[in-house]
Symmetry: C2
Subunit: 270 residues, 2 copies
């Protein structure tokens, strides 16, 4: 039988113990932990992380009693940590604290914008179709998916219009709401019964003066009109990160005069 | 003695029990929970949330045994939930899953850009000063703070240049990296010994061809030069949300021809 936890070491001299990998009889846990902490202290380890799965959640109160705090949780595990150095200020990266939402400005060739009323809203104002970005989802894909789910309108990406950053939102998180202009490729509305109470094509001029539309949503339409008038778009290009070798989406003002540079080719930008 | 938990009800027919508000003797917990779940089921409640603080973390394994899962955690509590309806698909909002970082393109009047090398990097490439946004912090403030902390250069905001979205990053989160152009108001570098191994003003032309600068960082400089040539900036304006009555920061392409509209005035945009 092991007399201490092994864990996996990271480049910051941290140790991560996974409760699924190093299972033990619960009555052995206190001594195992005590012995491990002695060893880690001796070897100048910095942060000790315990990834505790639901099935081993008996570990949680025992870790808490030994000074561990929570860091983050996902459905089937909670991550707890203990900062070891006495002579160094705690230096632990924060977990994500920003919710990410999207809205779509979808305008047809009669200068009408697609608007919805939500089913579960406290007061029913007209708003843009949209919702939260799913884990691992791209912004533009999320906007197109939400528009399709809520209204059954298919779309193509045109330009990013704006984003809005605010604090103290759901779960105490901050919130970024990204608005994109999408061009409809179908026109027949079939609203989602689960989320939406009404959905219509509304004349832009009515929208801009409508009493049941918030000022912020009007500002978004002003910004859309500015984009159409000035023909300055914010593009989304995809590329491959050179060192991490993962895809990315890069958003910036489009340079209509310029083709892809050598740097862009290196990043396999498309 | 109470025979069940009360909790606080939300507009989605959910109930939240806070372990600090409704403390109990641990041996009473199983019966209290059982009786409560019976009541909530009878009253058609939807999501049951338990906010369990570190001091009451003995509740965690007992909740897990009753089918509760983790939702999210902050340093001193973990939020667990149970979805009750049998005839409705689970509909629980995700917690934040996007990390938010910022970088600053700081260029002096000799066309030199401020670059740093990180102390704890695996390979030492030159990069832009920057780091993670703190909870509740605005993007521009975060960029200016990071530049000041790392290099001791004071700055003023000029324009947002770009942002980059990728997935599968730290803690399995997605990541948004926002780059802003900042104008230096001081010039003497004094680097942070804790985080930075080197910091210099580098000629832009050297930067664009330097072997120790990643392609993505070169793309950022290309986008900065495009912004300077075309004079198209992405502005940050502050306003007050009409219904939530909280401040926001709104980012969009600047319209040089236009003054603040009536809508902008309603939002107290500055």
């Amino acid at each position: 039988m092991a007399t201490s936890f092994f864990g996996a070491e990271d480049r910051f001299r941290g140790i991560t113990v996974d409760s699924k990998v190093e299972q033990c009889v619960l009555s052995d846990f206190p001594n195992l932990l005590k012995e491990s902490i002695t060893q880690w202290k001796k070897n100048n380890k910095r942060t000790i992380w315990f990834k505790v799965h639901l099935d081993q959640s008996d570990w949680v109160p025992l870790l808490a009693k030994n000074g561990f705090k929570f860091h983050h949780a996902k459905e089937d595990y909670v991550m707890m940590y203990l900062w070891m150095p006495k002579d160094e200020l705690k230096n632990i990266p924060n977990y994500a604290h920003t919710l990410l939402g999207v809205g779509g400005i979808v305008v047809n060739d009669k200068s009408q914008v697609l608007v919805v009323k939500e089913k579960y809203a406290t007061r029913t104002f007209w708003k843009l179709p949209g919702g939260y970005v799913e884990p691992g989802e791209n912004l533009v894909d999320a906007a197109m998916r939400e528009v399709l789910e809520e209204t059954n309108i298919s779309t193509e990406f045109q330009s990013l219009i704006s984003f809005n950053h605010s604090h103290g939102r759901a779960f105490g998180c901050s919130d970024i709401y990204v608005v994109v202009n999408l061009k409809p490729t179908s026109y027949e509305i079939k609203k989602s019964d689960q989320e939406i109470s009404e959905c219509i094509w509304m004349d832009i001029q009515d929208y801009l003066t409508h009493p049941e539309i918030h000022a912020l949503n009007k500002l978004l339409l002003e910004k859309y009109l500015q984009y159409k008038n000035n023909e300055i778009s914010i593009d989304c290009v995809s590329g491959i990160h050179q060192t991490l070798n993962i895809p990315f989406c890069f958003y910036s003002v489009r340079d209509s005069k310029k083709s892809i540079s050598d740097v862009g080719k290196q990043l396999k930008i498309s």
